[in-house]
């Protein structure tokens, strides 16, 4: 009884906190100063049609580097905890998959991978970007593993892609210090013609590496969880 009322009090407390937010909120009619600066000067300063990409990759590029690091750390801890001895995964009991799933996955998986690559290459022009593209690639891998549970995905390849793209991201940032205005500066490459694929300076390059890195990390997490499925 005491426990239930304590839970109730905590819920009421959070409700009061959030209600305060709700009561004072009437919807915005204007951008604030910072957002207005990003919206007005973003197209000239960064050259990216997608302003969210401009904020994520250039204005707050260091945050994105930290975010990729956190994701790397999570993936590393998952693979550390779920390490399977070589050969131990061979005696898993696998359920057979249906004909429909098997055939559909053969057609769909390459298309999903291609769509993921499209999303991260066009991250500065259309909705999407490296993180979304990487997640789409990993979802294609989930479909592949559902259809063929016995398939072994090469951990070496995943680690290689992840390390190379992570190092390239940092090297691009350092090159910005040496050849342009600062760490992760966008004007390392020319800004190009606004709204075309070869524009927005170094953003497409960074997003390709982010996409590959996120795709490899999520694939690593999924593969580790999948190899552990019958260990329990």
């Amino acid at each position: 009884m005491v426990k239930n009322s304590l839970i109730f009090i905590v819920l009421i407390g959070f409700a009061v906190l959030l209600a305060d937010l709700f009561v004072g909120f009437n919807g915005n009619t204007d951008l604030n100063t910072l957002a207005n600066h990003y919206a007005v000067s973003g197209p000239e300063e960064v050259g990216s049609a997608n302003l969210v990409t401009a904020v994520v990759v250039t204005y707050r590029g260091l945050d994105t580097l930290g975010e990729v690091t956190i994701l790397f750390l999570a993936a590393a801890i998952v693979s550390f905890l779920l390490k399977v001895e070589a050969g131990a995964s061979r005696n898993r009991k696998l359920r057979s998959t249906s004909e429909i799933l098997d055939t559909a996955s053969k057609i769909l998986v390459p298309v999903i991978f291609l769509f993921g690559i499209y999303v991260f290459i066009n991250g500065h022009l259309s909705p999407g970007g490296g993180f979304q593209g990487g997640a789409i690639i990993a979802s294609g891998l989930v479909l592949m593993l559902l259809a063929q549970p016995a398939k072994e995905v090469g951990h070496k390849l995943i680690t290689l892609v992840e390390s190379i793209s992570g190092i390239s991201f940092v090297l691009i940032g350092v090159a910005g210090v040496l050849f342009a205005a600062g760490f992760l500066d966008n004007k390392l490459l020319s800004l190009g013609k606004f709204g075309t694929i070869f524009s927005a300076g170094v953003i497409p390059v960074i997003y390709i590496f982010v996409g590959l890195k996120v795709g490899a990390e999520l694939s690593g997490i999924i593969t580790n969880l999948q190899e552990n499925q019958n260990e329990a």
Partner: protein, 123 residues
């Protein structure tokens, strides 16, 4: 009913999701359900952040045919909360994967998902 705008509806949805998430975190005994409660909490916060960044009658912060390039400041919503939520979603995914891994490890050790069976830290 006329002041029930898009941002108000999303804000209410976000607040309800946060409260359901906290309720789940506090009352559920199954470890998987606790993780689900955490994820609902997380999603509710994301929806609240995006709805606060919304500006009335404006479009997504992507400059295409629907946005006049010379008047961007008066035609798009705030890009900053959306960028922050993009970051938060990815980190939330990593944290969820990590929590599920801990649950898996705990299950392998004790063959139980019931939180009452894990009282090693209880005094």
């Amino acid at each position: 009913m006329e002041n029930l705008n898009l941002e108000i509806i999303t804000l209410i949805t976000g607040i309800i999701l946060v409260l359901i998430g906290i309720w789940g975190l506090l009352t559920q005994k199954n470890l998987i359900k606790i993780v689900i409660g955490f994820t609902l909490f997380n999603t509710g916060i994301h929806i609240i952040m995006v709805s606060i960044g919304y500006v009335k009658n404006r479009t997504a912060p992507i400059i295409d045919q629907s946005v006049n390039i010379n008047d961007v400041g008066n035609s798009v919503v705030d890009p900053v909360p959306q960028a922050l939520v993009l970051t938060a979603i990815v980190i939330g995914l990593g944290v969820t994967a990590l929590m599920l891994t801990y649950v898996l490890k705990m299950y392998q050790k004790r063959k139980s998902l019931e939180i009452n069976n894990y009282n090693d830290l209880k005094w």
